[in-house]
């Protein structure tokens, strides 16, 4: 059974010629089939955790360890992590001019699966998955994320999640900027993947709204660069009623969010 283990993870970022520590000792274990919601105020370091796990070069791991089934994730390049079974659905996916969605999907599926998918079954697979996410088939001929609306970008991320079938999926604020219909469609996509029981899900969100559609097994409150409290789904209800007030008083968190494209 696939397991992602994060131990005492410390991550810093260079900003304005100074090194700033953002993650201050994160411990978390995500097993296949489990869904963990990570909730926290802006600037608490949630996105930094997501991008550090994916290997974004902006973040420096200063100490701690991350393993996937015992393999050292931190030693892997970004593409190796993806091929090992990590997937990050991004909050702000970038435009890739000149690269069509269909070409991109096939290239990444080939890379992740280790061989080119058979054309006929592949076309069918993509078409059906797009259909379930209520994406127009013409979408496949557009350039990756170019001119996509917020909702289209998120559907495209979930389309990749469904096609690439990772062992661990990290969803970074997939719910932000979505209207209720889009949120439902995107959540259903995530749930289809979860129902296979083959993926561990790390759902990063600011709002409890998405948890009405995607039921977490565990809820963790993220504050000031570490997990401040963990519990079951009931912890989300508490946050819904009380907000993050109790967690942010403890330490200075404003400004911990590094800004820029990936924060």
């Amino acid at each position: 059974m696939a397991t992602l283990e994060i131990r005492d993870l410390h991550v810093s970022v260079e900003a304005d010629n100074a090194t700033k520590e953002i993650l201050k000792g994160v411990d978390l274990t995500v097993k296949q089939g489990e869904t963990h919601a990570i909730m926290g105020p802006n600037g608490s370091g949630k996105s930094t955790l997501a991008y550090s796990l994916a290997g974004h070069p902006k973040y420096t791991i200063t100490s701690g360890s991350v393993t996937l089934d015992g393999e050292d994730v931190l030693e892997m390049t970004v593409d190796e992590r993806a091929r090992a079974g990590l997937f990050l659905a991004m909050q702000y996916p970038v435009e890739i001019p000149g690269v069509s969605v269909s070409n991109f999907l096939r290239t990444s599926a080939t890379a992740v699966r280790g061989e080119a998918p058979k054309l006929r079954t592949w076309v069918k697979e993509v078409k059906e998955t797009m259909g379930r996410l209520q994406m127009d088939p013409a979408f496949a001929e557009r350039n990756v994320n170019e001119g996509f609306s917020g909702g289209e970008k998120k559907r495209h991320e979930i389309l990749q999640l469904e096609l690439l079938k990772p062992k661990v999926a990290i969803l970074d604020e997939t719910d932000s900027g979505l209207d209720v219909d889009a949120l439902r469609i995107v959540s259903e996509g995530v749930n289809r993947v979860r129902e296979t029981g083959e993926v561990g899900t790390l759902l990063i969100t600011h709002y409890t709204r998405i948890l009405r559609y995607i039921k977490p097994d565990f809820v963790h409150v993220f504050a000031n660069g570490r997990i401040a409290e963990s519990g079951g789904a009931e912890l989300a209800d508490k946050l819904e009623n009380e907000g993050y007030e109790a967690y942010v008083k403890g330490g200075p968190v404003s400004g911990a969010n590094s800004g820029g494209a990936v924060a």
């Binding site: 290997g55 974004h56 970004v78 992590r81 970038v94 890739i96 290239t107 890379a111 350039n143 690439l164």
Partner: protein, 393 residues
Amino acid sequence: MAEAQNIPAGSTTTGSIAVAAESTVATRMSAPPSFDVADFPVPHGREEEWRFTPLERLRGLHDGTAVATSGAVKVAIEAPEGVTVETVGRDDSRLGKAGTPVDRVAAQAYTSFEQASVVTVAKEAVLTEPIRITVHGEGGVAYGHQVVELGAFAEAVVVIDHTGDAVLAANVDYVLGDGAKLTVVSVQDWDETAVHVGQHNALVGRDASFKSIVVTFGGDLVRLHPRVAYAGTGGEAELFGLYFTDKGQHQEHRLLVDHNTPHCKSNAAYKGALQGDGAHAVWIGDVLIQARAEGTDTYEMNRNLVLTDGARVDSVPNLEIETGEIVGAGHASATGRFDDEQLFYLMSRGIEAEEARRLVVRGFFAELVQQIGLPDVEARLLEKIEAELKASV
């Protein structure tokens, strides 16, 4: 020209990429066009038309010190039936009909060549095979002149390949009779030491169509002037270009479409990728719509993709409109970087860095390559782009 309306260039800048200030078509030339090199002062580098070009790398083509050496360039022409190929002297009346040299090096070429080749496609001949012209540099200095003339309603494809090493200044004239259709592919696949400067003049006859595909991969310095003027109404010109500028290379394309005749069309689209320290691409796109050219429809576009730091692009589209009675006129220029975020996104989907870069560049050029309409040329270009990418990583 004083009343000409100058629409400023819509350029974008990113990081270290410089975008030149606009200037009008008229002020770009320090001297009026002439066939005689003596009519042009030796450039010093601050002139509008020379300011992007490293003169010291012209190896004397610009100041009269480059003396032709024998056997520097070998030209071979392979033509199907229905085509006449001649080698003629300087006094042949068919030379220089499509345009007049606009700068000192083009005029030097016209003043210095000893023999020219003239390729003629007879009236109404429709060629099924391309005319292939190979220009191979053997080292040394050469001046040349080439004419391709199509009779009325003739149709032809010409592929000109430049390979090897040379210091070459050579002009090409394309003369299209009424209703003729000419597609020209000029490939600059020089060794990395070569210098190539030339002016390509097309004179498009009534209802004729001219399609030019300029492909520049090689050379230390390549500076070309693809130019179009119309001899009658209803003419169409499509100017496509593709360049891949590597470390230390200077590749400059200076287009001019002179809408001197009513009811003609033009469409220019050039795309370039750059990589490596000191890679420098220059694109000047001048379109002039003269007062009498009512019903003109024109669009020009330049896109650049900067793959690494240290590369520089100067992209200057410029549209001068002297009449409001036109169908359309537009231009666009954009220079973008293949940046770390794009690389991260693709790699986070399991795609290796090298493959990611290839995907982006291939995609960038594919749309343009598909418009060429000659499958074997398209395949060769895509292959060449792959090779350029492999060499870089």
